[in-house]
Symmetry: C2
């Protein structure tokens, strides 16, 4: 009796979330020490220690009907202004409050911008491997997902294939760098080339193609790596940001969209996204968290714990004989499945109480994703088991 579309969504529902639920059951059965749950991107590094004091201060100093009340559907004006200024000082841009829309995380942001842009059958191009939710987000607005296949082993976007997939119906392209699930950062050269192809396609078809930069992992970078600011490379870029990973607040659902004044049909896009925020049922990003993150913009994200995990996991698995992509950012390791079927491999891993996600969930079969935003002991304890697992399947 539920809708046909939702029935399909439930059937094909997130492997990642299914694992997360399974992990909780395993912990009940075997105890937390004997379960190695690498399924979900749920930060293990706590939020900055200052955050409790910041929240307490807001509650103490500001009027409660203001802190917990309605504001413009795009968010508090002063919060948006503060974020714009922080971006300006980091990236040399000249944004104002009008270029920022506060959203319910990056997921909320991507949904409202896709709702704003997509007519039925409009095409959204993504590069495998990609976060599987893009499929649902596009389907929510009856868009058509167009997948560019994965480009192993460096996992930069496959631009040769991309060029052939741009059509008169291409409305948006989603890029996610640092990437979930590979940890790869898209290089400036890649982005310049991609921008050139987009401009060419816009001219050829007489259309506007929006580049949606999904950037929850922007601050999670290792070895002094550099994440290019994509609006610098392509004028029709809209950035979706989230504080879920940088401030370890994924449950709070707080992020923002940057809509630069240069994007095509700026006024329509801005008012469309603001109205979409309201009518989709978000109404506005959670108010207390809006005020909180505005006071955390200059905090450094502490990646030392993730980096320690990254080194231990990458080195341990490589030494054991696995083939891995060394992540430059985010907190995922993308590993070649030692047997053809990644789904079967993840199934076998469960015998060792290891929970990992098949690359199939990211449109990249033959690989598995290990989310290493876990306690360091989980990594250490899992390594001998990963070794045994490899011996078993060889």
């Amino acid at each position: 009796m539920i809708s046909k579309k939702m029935k399909e969504h439930v059937k094909g529902s997130s492997m990642i979330r299914a694992m997360f639920e399974e992990g909780k059951k395993m912990i009940d059965l075997y105890g937390a020490d004997d379960v190695h749950d690498f399924s979900l991107g749920n930060p293990s590094t706590p939020p900055p220690a200052e955050i409790n004091g910041i929240i307490n201060g807001i509650l103490k100093d500001e009027k409660p009907t203001f802190v917990h009340g309605y504001m413009n559907n795009a968010g508090y004006e002063d919060v948006r202004e503060t974020i714009a200024k922080s971006l300006n000082s980091k990236y040399g841009t000249s944004y104002g409050a009008a270029n920022v829309i506060m959203t319910v995380g990056a997921a909320g942001g991507l949904n409202i911008i896709l709702k704003t842009l997509l007519d039925p059958d409009d095409e959204v191009v993504v590069f495998a491997p990609f976060f599987g939710e893009y499929r649902a987000y596009t389907s929510n607005y009856d868009g058509k997902l167009v997948v560019v296949s994965a480009n192993a082993p460096d996992f930069q976007p496959n631009l040769a294939e991309f060029a052939g997939k741009l059509t008169a119906r291409t409305k948006a392209v989603i890029v996610n760098s640092p990437n979930n699930p590979t940890g790869v950062i898209y290089s400036e050269e890649t982005l310049e080339a991609l921008a050139g192809m987009l401009r060419e396609a816009q001219e050829k078809f007489g259309t506007s193609i929006y580049l949606l930069a999904d950037e929850p992992y922007r601050e999670l970078v290792y070895d002094g790596g550099f994440v290019p600011f994509i609006p610098k490379h392509y004028e029709n870029t809209i950035v979706g940001y989230s504080f879920s990973k940088s401030l370890s607040l994924p449950g709070e659902r707080i992020g923002y969209l940057v809509v630069p004044s240069e994007v095509a049909d700026f006024d329509d896009v801005l008012s469309g996204a603001t109205v979409a925020n309201r009518i989709s049922g978000f109404v506005n990003a959670p108010s207390l968290q809006q005020r909180t993150v505005a006071k955390c913009l200059d905090m450094e994200t502490d990646v030392s714990g993730y980096n320690k995990n990254r080194e231990a996991l990458y080195n341990g698995l490589t030494e054991a004989g696995y083939e891995c992509v060394k992540p430059q950012g985010a907190f995922y390791l993308f590993v070649k499945s030692p047997i053809e079927s990644d789904v079967e491999f993840c199934s076998l891993a469960k015998k060792y109480h290891i929970l990992i996600v098949p690359g199939t969930a990211f449109a990249c079969p033959g690989y598995v994703r290990i989310a290493y935003c876990v306690a360091h002991e989980t990594i250490v304890a899992s390594l001998p088991k990963f070794k045994k697992l490899l011996e078993e399947v060889r």
Copy 2:
């Protein structure tokens, strides 16, 4: 270049929100004391004084990666269990955690349940006057809104007309009691009769019809009035609740759905709504606020301030010669427009710096809505102006 559908939404965008923005501009021009903004249901009674201590306590006592982390897309298990128990003690039900889904306010809840239920062209019946957003929420999932006309002067649902509007495509009926914009509580007799008609239609068409009870105003009741608990009257009822008004937390976006085990296709509806919560971009209701409201369930909502406003406004306007429906709940007064066009009347009111919303926004032309969740002084100061306004148009 934005989608055709969004273009329409932007064009017909909420009159209420437009007023809210206009109000802020007027305040800049004339000063807050000289603007009487009755446009938005933004609570003027502050949240309970205990709430700061509760939030600080949670931040102090609970692990930050837990308080701000991901949980099941339906919400924290313990929070859902606590809410179920609180409902059970109030209404004699026997709900468990599995009957409660935490949502991003009632707006988020209504959206995920409509996304779960509606195939394109499925019909959703509403009773005028109704919260205009139902139109957008239904359109989001390509449903067809079927409006039963208003039943002045008591504004109970027009059941005679309703019976004729139930078809084989009716998937849901939305009721909102205490009602926005009239403040009327739907009586037990009304609900019993409505339930009978729904059962008859289900049998006749061999379908399931879900009654969606949108209940953000459940706790805002005057003169010891009684709000029937609708699942007691009709087994296929799903309740959408919000803490926006009862705890004065509208900006925090926190509420829940109750999906009783008796509803048709319970398992599908439950998993559908949980998946819809995720893929719509909500992911989950804001985590800190979930934990906060679970500790506030037994607090009495203080309606004394609203009641004082209600009496002053109702008496003042009635004495001045306006025809009003005396509200039994919520914080809106629905007033007959003294001239034929409610839109024109609201326009004239602006000359007196009075912001009120035309009934047309609620599919009930000829009336206007006054949201009296404002400072008492605003009411007192506005009364002579309302009087002059009436004299002007007579």
